[in-house]
Amino acid sequence: MKQKSIPMYAEHANTSGFWTQWKEEHESFFRDVRLSFYLFSRSPLSLIGMVLVGAFFLIALIGPWIVPYPEDATGAVHMSQKLTAPGSQFWFGTDEMGRDVFTRVILGTRVSLKIGLIIICAAMGIGVPLGITAGYVGGWVNETIMRITDIFLAIPGLILALAIIGALGPGITNSMIALSLVWWPGYVRLVQGKTLSLKEESFIEAALSVGAGRARIIFLHILPNCTSPIIVKASMDMGMSILAAAGLGFIGVGAQPPAPEWGAMISIARNYLPNWWWYALFPGLAIFVTVLGFNLLGDGFRDILDPQSRGYYRE
């Protein structure tokens, strides 16, 4: 990154202090960041996505301190106020145990954030190293890794996750393990493809010719160049993994009641339709808004981070 200064430039830089010099040296980076911000701010949908995701993170962080009835998080019972309609006391109404639905939906953000982060981190943790290895080493290593990946991609993820849960038993931890195990192949495909094309670039050849080792090339040259597509995919996948985990909670093999997980809440709320509609409505809206936020943000990231789609975006 560091440019070799021409004498005049260096002289000028020396007189104006460390900060200015540093800024000038990284000018191209700042220009890129500014361009990204500009592109991002011009797309209202991306901004909406950012606001939604920001709100989601904030609520997940401060949730337990802002909810009106923190004791409703798990097994509290207030039979006298069960299935109360939404009103000033209970904004989203109450459930069959008299617990405040608003409190439980807010606390559900924390559960979903945890689920999403763990699944995506685990998927990246397995997928990225395998993808780089396959792409960089090539040969039979590549063949083996990619054929195993193909097996996992041969059937819909939700079915494979269900099969894994069938073996491990229902529960929130097992559903996270199952979803992580079906989510990594996407990252292998992405990173392997990217590594294969990067390997042919002249800057890798240059690094090799000056004697850079394998580790140096992988960590300093290939990995940084893979980050943009990984960020785009991870942001999209956050929403999708939350959606999948909620689906597993809904069919009864994921999070178990009384944990405040949105899918599990809807699963019980189902029995109280149509008269007590609020119980199913609000957790579902929470899932929708969260997933929409991550999808819009992911779209926005793709538009600024992926140079090919920059052109596509403008059409």
Binding site: I155, L158, L162, G166, L273, G284
Partner: protein
């Protein structure tokens, strides 16, 4: 062409082999005890032991694994601990319902999404295009099971417009079994009352199931149409005085359909995955519901059976799509 198909079928076979191995390996580390679950909470240790022997769960895993393959070769997928039936019989019973739902839903998606995608591309950046974009972005984010519940709430419970669930009404006699697809069978036997009832029952689940597919097919088809419409041969066709409708329908759409086909093929598989949610909500007696009930029970053999069946479906669908490519685009050559 023939060699290509054989090669692909061989690959499907190998992948299925891998799939069984993977699922079996995962089951090795499973802490659950299916025999105890099936025997019930009050069962004594001896009863569980008998159960374990009966289903062969006491043998080492490698023996179970090998005998599973031996069974597979003779079409035996093991027995379900929950229903006490052979898995293969259960699958034969439940699969037609799922197949009917998925294919109907896919047709619905194609019939709605392709014209919409074309219209969005032709009237780009006009109201319809923006509306479709909002629809497709939000369509991907909607939890399918929740959408199903809300539609049930309004269309079935509040307004009594469509039935709540199931394949047929309680009082309707199923049609004579020919293909086991109620819509097709009732048509073949000319049983209009049953056809109407089956159609009313399939509409809601099919619509919910096709919702995410609708969103993505519209998106892909619109993008491909825009790409094709900007090519020179379209301009040249218009310059020769060929009508706009014919240019779009005959020249542009045929080219744009090729990438859209891939999306449709992929969507068939994903829809099969989605059936586990939709069938649960609508009480649709298919393999999705069967798999869910088995998973809750830790009943392993049926889940492997469903996984294999869906895997075969998914891969064969992709093969068929690749073959249709060749019909749509004569430039495609198979190796």
């Amino acid at each position: 062409m023939k060699r290509y198909i054989i090669k692909r079928l061989l690959l499907i076979f190998l992948t299925l082999f891998g799939l069984i191995t993977v699922v079996f390996l995962i089951s090795r580390v499973a802490p659950g005890d299916p025999a105890r679950l099936a025997a019930g909470p009050d069962a004594t240790e001896e009863m569980v032991e008998v159960m374990r022997k009966e289903f062969g769960l006491d043998r080492p895993l490698i023996v179970q694994y090998l005998s599973y393959f031996k069974g597979l070769a003779s079409g035996n997928l093991g027995r379900s601990i929950r229903t006490r039936h052979n898995v293969i019989d259960d699958l034969v019973q439940f699969f037609p319902a799922t197949f009917e739902l998925t294919v109907f839903s896919l047709l619905l998606a194609v019939v709605l999404a392709i014209p919409l995608g074309v219209l969005c591309a032709v009237y780009r950046d006009r109201f319809l295009d923006h509306a479709a974009r909002v629809f497709s972005v939000s369509g991907m984010a909607l939890p399918m099971f929740w959408l199903a519940l809300m539609l049930q709430l309004f269309l079935a419970l509040k307004f009594d417009f469509l039935p709540l669930g199931g394949r047929l009404g309680l009082l309707t006699e199923p049609p004579t079994k020919i293909t086991h697809l109620y819509l097709v069978d009732s048509l073949l036997t000319g049983n209009w009352a049953v056809f109407k009832d089956a159609l009313r029952h399939i509409l809601l689940p099919a619509f919910v199931l096709c919702f995410p597919a609708l969103a993505s097919i519209i998106r892909v088809n619109r993008a491909e149409m825009l790409e094709v419409l900007s090519r020179d041969f379209i301009v040249s066709a218009r310059a020769h005085g060929i009508s706009k409708i014919r240019t779009i329908g005959q020249y542009a759409l045929k080219n744009a359909l090729i990438p859209t086909m891939t999306m449709i093929g992929l969507r068939y598989g994903w829809m099969l995955g989605g059936t586990i949610l939709v069938e649960t909500v609508f009480d649709w007696p298919g393999i999705g519901l069967y798999a869910v009930q088995s998973a809750v029970y830790s009943d392993f053999q049926p889940i492997i059976g469903v996984t294999l069946l869906i895997g075969i479906n998914f891969m064969v669908a992709n093969l068929i799509i690749d073959l249709i490519y060749g019909i749509l685009d004569p430039r495609v050559r198979y190796e």
